[in-house]
């Protein structure tokens, strides 16, 4: 068998796998609105502002409504020590502070 044919078969196998993943992704996206309807109701009815991803620090649990610079403002000389702080960017928004 020609080496280029082996490569073509390999690429075909990958193409089939990736097509299957793409199809599965489409299925999940199509089912998403119906599946997440209760979550939409919870957001509206309780006035939720944030995703519950990291619960260790208030500025990563509620980045939208906590102090933008909280990682360094717990006390004078405070250092950021929560691991999630290294993953989440500080939501710096110059329009905050009462000036929307």
């Amino acid at each position: 068998m020609r080496p280029s044919l082996v490569l073509a078969l390999f690429l075909l196998a990958f193409g089939i796998l990736d097509s299957a993943l793409l199809w599965q992704s489409g299925q999940r996206r199509a089912a998403w609105p119906a599946r997440m309807a209760p979550a939409g109701i919870a957001t509206a009815a309780m006035g939720l502002t944030d995703l519950c991803l990291a619960t260790e620090a208030r500025y990563t649990r509620h980045p939208a409504v906590s102090d933008p610079m909280a990682p360094f403002m717990d006390h004078p000389g405070s250092l950021e020590h929560f691991p999630t702080g290294s993953f989440w960017a500080c939501p710096v928004d110059r329009q905050r502070g009462g000036k929307p």
């Binding site: 993943l21 919870a42 519950c52 649990r61 939501p91």
Partner: protein
């Protein structure tokens, strides 16, 4: 078969045979390259998916949130502020909320305690659809998120207690639990009535944590927010677009871990490119010289090198991106979880909206495959233009 196509196929055959001759080296390069692409693609998929999920789930977040600040920190807001906002034209509803954090000494978990009158909120009459059981209305009644229920380990019991700030016990009774489909929002939530939350946090009856303001015309959110800000100095006024903007920023390329990932990937790539660009080995130079003696043109040798690099980099890209998709959307981003969740005791399963844009794939391709091609073809061209007799000697 078309002559040109036949020539390309023969070149590809020769390339693959050549790659096979140095399989250990080429396989090593491909695996390292695929691992770097996997890291970058995983991060890109995860952040894009988190952003899309946040935009979707928080589309109905409060239109305006008003918080009171004191010495740069948030503090309880007097309910008298409500009366001061009544005169603002365009405000439809104002709902005072009580919320805060409760740290569980036993497990080290942080719970979010939230209380609001659903009658004042949009879709408040449908809140029961988001939970199994009933809404809290009476004394001590609460609805728990799945993470809280698991952490408290109630084992069928419906009663438990939390400590007030003065260390007296506040007895509570579970009357419902949030549906698992809402985990990404409610996993750490204890939902109760405003009176019960005030009692737990010892907040005065004439105070609340913040105000959710809803306007008649969503186009006026920004204008009304400015009016509120002017009317209530010392407050922080957040709008729905700002909340949405926050989630576009926190998961962006600017976040710390992304920088580390990118720097690592970049460093690995620079080393790889430098290794390739620093010149071909004597054996490779001799091979090129022999090919030229046999009648190959410089262009043919460059094509050969192009095929070689394209095969290695293309396969690495395909492998890296496919593995990244499987990692993020089927395995829940397990590798990034320790950093994404940190020391969190309560964390929901990551059920994210699969989001893979063609632009992301193209960006990763451009960042990895194209520079690799450039870095390998240039030294090959240098070697190809050396006279064959000089190269063999």
């Amino acid at each position: 078969m078309n002559l040109s196509l036949e020539k390309q196929l023969n070149l590809l055959d020769y390339t693959l045979a050549s790659l096979r001759r140095r399989k250990l080296k080429n396989l090593g390069i491909m695996i390292v390259f695929a691992a770097v692409i996997f890291l970058v693609a995983s991060f890109q998929f995860l952040t894009a998916s988190l952003t899309a999920t946040a935009q979707d789930l928080l589309a109905e977040a409060p239109e305006i949130v008003v918080q009171k600040l004191s010495a740069g920190r948030q503090e309880a807001l007097p309910l008298s502020y409500l009366a001061r906002l009544q005169g603002v034209y365009g405000i439809r509803t104002i709902a005072p909320r009580i919320w805060g954090y409760y740290f569980s000494e036993t497990s080290g978990a942080n719970f979010t305690v939230l209380a609001v009158d659903p009658a004042l909120m949009p879709k408040g009459d449908r809140l029961f659809q988001a939970l199994d059981g009933q809404l809290p209305v009476g004394q001590g009644e609460v609805v728990l998120g799945s993470g809280v229920a698991a952490d408290l380990n109630l084992a069928g019991r419906r009663s438990f207690s939390l400590f007030r700030p003065d260390l007296t016990l506040k007895p509570l009774r579970v009357v419902g639990s949030f549906k698992s489909d809402t985990d990404l929002l409610t996993s750490d939530l204890i939902f109760t009535t405003p009176d019960e939350a005030r009692d737990l946090f010892t907040i005065a009856a004439d105070h609340c944590t913040d105000l959710c303001v809803y306007v008649a015309n969503p186009r006026e959110i920004s204008t009304i927010a400015k009016k509120i800000s002017a009317l209530l100095p010392g407050t922080r006024v957040l709008t729905r677009p700002q909340i949405s903007q926050t989630y576009r920023v926190v998961f962006g390329w600017r976040s710390g871990f992304a920088s580390i990932c990118l720097l690592t990937a970049l460093a690995a790539f620079i080393i790889l490119a430098w290794d390739k660009a620093s010149g071909l080995s004597a054996e490779e130079k001799r091979e090129i010289a022999i090919l030229k003696v046999l009648g190959w043109q410089t262009g043919d040798i460059l094509l050969l090198r192009c095929w070689e690099s394209l095969t290695v980099a293309g396969l690495a890209w395909l492998l890296g991106c496919t593995a990244a998709y499987l990692h993020v959307f089927l395995l829940g981003g397990e590798l990034f979880k320790p950093v994404l969740l940190g020391w969190s005791v309560i964390h929901p399963p990551l059920r994210l909206l699969p989001t893979v844009a063609a632009s992301d794939l193209l960006l990763i391709f451009t960042m990895s495959v194209v520079p690799y091609l450039a870095a390998t073809v240039i030294p090959a061209w240098r070697a190809a233009i050396i006279p064959p007799d000089a190269a063999i000697r």
